[in-house]
């Protein structure tokens, strides 16, 4: 696992140094003197330096990285099965859909639905409790923002 990540980091670092940084940082370095000092004061300096460091760390992981089992044995990371993957992907999908629809449908209508969706995904099945919590929490957050902080959360087609 670490070796794959190391390879990906190395590739990313090469792309960053040779493609992304030159293309995405267009202003030439500011003149504060020549030599090392001048180069270090350039807006290109840190991104390039970090690309080099990232590449070096990528090589380290590639050469000395541990297997997934060794990582877990060291108490880092955690095991990941199909059921977990389904729940995490489901949660991510609900959040992305929430983001995409929030402006259109509005906070007050969409939030109880998203909250209930997440609860069901987590195995909560007491429907009445769920309905009460979903509606009351959404309304409380909405009113708290509107009255307490004068922030209008997206109103969607109701607005």
């Amino acid at each position: 696992m670490d070796r794959w990540l190391g390879g990906a980091l190395l590739l990313g670092a090469v792309l960053l140094y040779f493609v992304v940084v030159p293309a995405e940082i267009v202003i030439p370095r500011i003149q504060v003197g020549g030599g090392v000092g001048g180069a270090a004061a350039s807006p290109l300096f840190f991104p390039r330096l970090m690309a080099v460091v990232l590449g070096f760390l990528g090589v380290l992981l590639l050469l000395r990285g541990r297997s997934r089992a060794e990582t877990l044995l060291a108490g880092e990371g955690f095991a990941f099965g199909r059921a977990q993957a389904a729940r995490v992907c489901g949660t991510a999908a609900i959040l992305v859909a929430y983001l995409a629809l929030l402006d259109l449908i509005g906070y007050l209508l969409l939030t109880p639905v998203a909250l209930a969706g997440l609860s069901i995904l987590l195995g909560f099945r007491r429907w009445l409790t769920l309905a009460i919590v979903a509606v009351s929490v959404s309304a409380t957050i909405y009113l708290g923002f509107r009255l307490g902080m004068k922030i209008l959360l997206p109103e969607g087609f109701l607005g």
Partner: protein, 508 residues
């Protein structure tokens, strides 16, 4: 000076601040007590709220969350055998056995008194130490600040688990992310990929909400914990009684743990997660009955609880005196300070003395609030800890998203929070720490700015860093810190190799 003190006291003792300290403390305790939710997460989620409050209402609110959260973790450590936060991990060792023996109430009372004493000690040290340090820091120029931040960044290595390279990858990515947006000195637009929302850089609070809030939610979702088995707080008030006098009977342990917590807390990168274990281990070593530890010894609750709460005030020293956050909690707090128009650092002690006094008073009020709320709520926790995860985590998720939106009324920020929630989850899953990424994200712009300013002052000559004594001192300390870290890594590897060599059957 007296005028400013009176002004600060008037502001902080107003009902608004007192109420928010109380609310913050309760929120912190609840979040700290619930496994999977941390004080850092609570501060990230609720810090947008403070942007709409006066500084001496918003900052005390966050202090309440911080202190309440640090104590709150001990509740679940005692009642369910799972620490609410990493800062309370050592409390499980003796707190849970005490609860299993029907002494949950006593363990919780001991934890309350111990946390309060540790907290008070740390507050006093902060008040006494931060002013002189800030006066020294006033003499710092960009070269000194650069060297100091560089030194702080080496401490990030202490956040590494068993893989330093992964910790450094995390920190490097944090620096890269901090580079996104317009460079403040040259005006160059960097790594924005034409996205106008990125011109101002990645918003800090949504970034932190994503990594600490949503990232942790994803972890909990994948684990899907249902109801927790909570030990009951049995017996009448007499059975659970612990007095301050009883705690002071362990005065050596209390003093030692206070010093450990405060000392470690003042060092960048080392926080309550470490101090609780060091305090526990030292108490065990010094005890006449070390064999009782791990079996329900009250001293095994007192030591880590003094040790972790004694960190709270101390972590504020580097933040207030230098403007450099020593850990992730103060990194979140730094964001709140800046949003309030306050720039932590030595100048704060010249320009915002009223706020400084107010923060000092609020620290003590937050300790008092923590003590009162904790004393009154001992029996309530059995019920609170039984809130089903299936309801709790979705509610926290919605709070995260609303908090991310509130910063700039921007859906883009909600997207940032979701994206970094996924990134945070993947990092945790593959054994990468998220804390180095956050610390590097906040330190990198300061490092870059001080480097550029130093080089402008010296017309491009890097000798400025070795000709100024304080800068040179910090550079030497940086080098020493790196060498020591590498050496301890080698030693650990040699020890592991020796162990494997001595016990060839160990791997079978």
């Amino acid at each position: 000076m007296l005028d400013q003190l009176v002004q600060a006291a008037t502001a902080v003792l107003g009902w608004e601040t007192l109420a928010m300290i109380l609310v913050g403390t309760i929120l912190g305790m609840v979040v700290g007590a619930l496994p999977g939710l941390t004080a850092t997460m609570a501060m990230a989620i609720f810090s947008p709220l403070t942007f709409f409050m006066p500084p001496l209402v918003g900052i005390p609110f966050l202090l309440g969350i911080y202190k309440g959260g640090t104590y709150g973790g001990s509740i679940s450590a005692i009642l369910i055998g799972t620490p609410g936060t990493a800062s309370n991990a050592a409390t499980v060792m003796d707190g849970y056995p005490m609860a299993q023996q029907g002494r949950a109430g006593k363990a919780m009372q001991a934890s309350i008194y111990a946390s309060t004493v540790g907290d008070l000690f740390s507050n006093v040290v902060l008040v006494l130490a931060v002013w002189p340090i800030a006066m020294i820091a006033l003499k710092f120029g960009p070269a000194e600040i650069f060297a100091l931040i560089l030194f702080s960044m080496t401490i990030i290595a202490s956040l590494a688990g068993s893989s330093l390279s992964k910790c450094l990858v995390s920190a490097t990515l944090g620096v890269m992310l901090a580079m996104i947006g317009v460079d403040t000195i040259s005006g160059a637009s960097r790594l924005t990929f034409g996205v106008s929302d990125l011109q101002g850089g990645i918003s800090y609070i949504p970034f932190v909400i994503g990594l600490f809030g949503l990232g942790e939610i994803f972890v909990q979702v994948s684990k899907r914990t249902g109801h927790l088995t909570v030990m009951d707080v049995k017996g009448g008030p007499g059975a659970n009684r612990v007095t301050f006098r009883e705690i002071l009977g362990y005065k050596r342990t209390v003093l030692r743990s206070s010093l450990i917590g405060t000392g470690l807390g003042a060092l960048p990168g080392i926080g309550a997660e470490t101090s609780c274990w060091v305090a526990y281990a030292m108490a065990k070593r010094a005890s006449r009955h070390p064999e009782r530890f791990g079996k329900g010894e009250i001293e095994g609750v007192i030591a880590p609880e003094v040790g972790n709460n004694a960190v709270c005030g101390a972590t504020m020293v580097p933040l207030l005196a230098f403007g450099i956050p020593g850990d992730v909690v103060t990194a979140v707090m730094l964001g709140a300070f800046i949003a309030q128009g306050l720039r932590p650092g030595p100048l704060l002690f010249k320009e915002n003395i009223t706020e400084i006094y107010g923060i000092f008073i609020a620290l003590f009020l937050a300790t008092l609030a923590m003590f009162v709320v904790a004393k009154l709520s001992v029996r309530l926790w059995v019920r609170i800890l039984q809130v089903p995860a299936g309801l709790l985590y979705p509610v926290v998720t919605m709070l995260c998203l609303a908090g991310a939106y509130a910063i700039n009324n921007s859906l883009f920020d909600v997207g940032i929070a979701i994206a970094f929630g996924i990134v945070g989850y993947m990092m945790r899953m593959t054994g990468f720490e998220v804390a180095p990424m956050v610390l590097a994200f906040i330190l990198a712009p300061m490092l870059e700015q001080s480097l550029t300013q130093s080089l402008m002052m010296s017309h491009g000559s890097p000798l400025i860093f070795v000709t100024r004594p304080i800068a040179l001192l910090f550079l030497v300390l940086t080098a020493v810190s790196v060498v020591l870290y590498i050496r301890s890594g080698w030693r650990a590897r040699e020890l592991a190799a020796d162990k494997t060599g001595a016990d060839p059957g160990a791997g079978r």
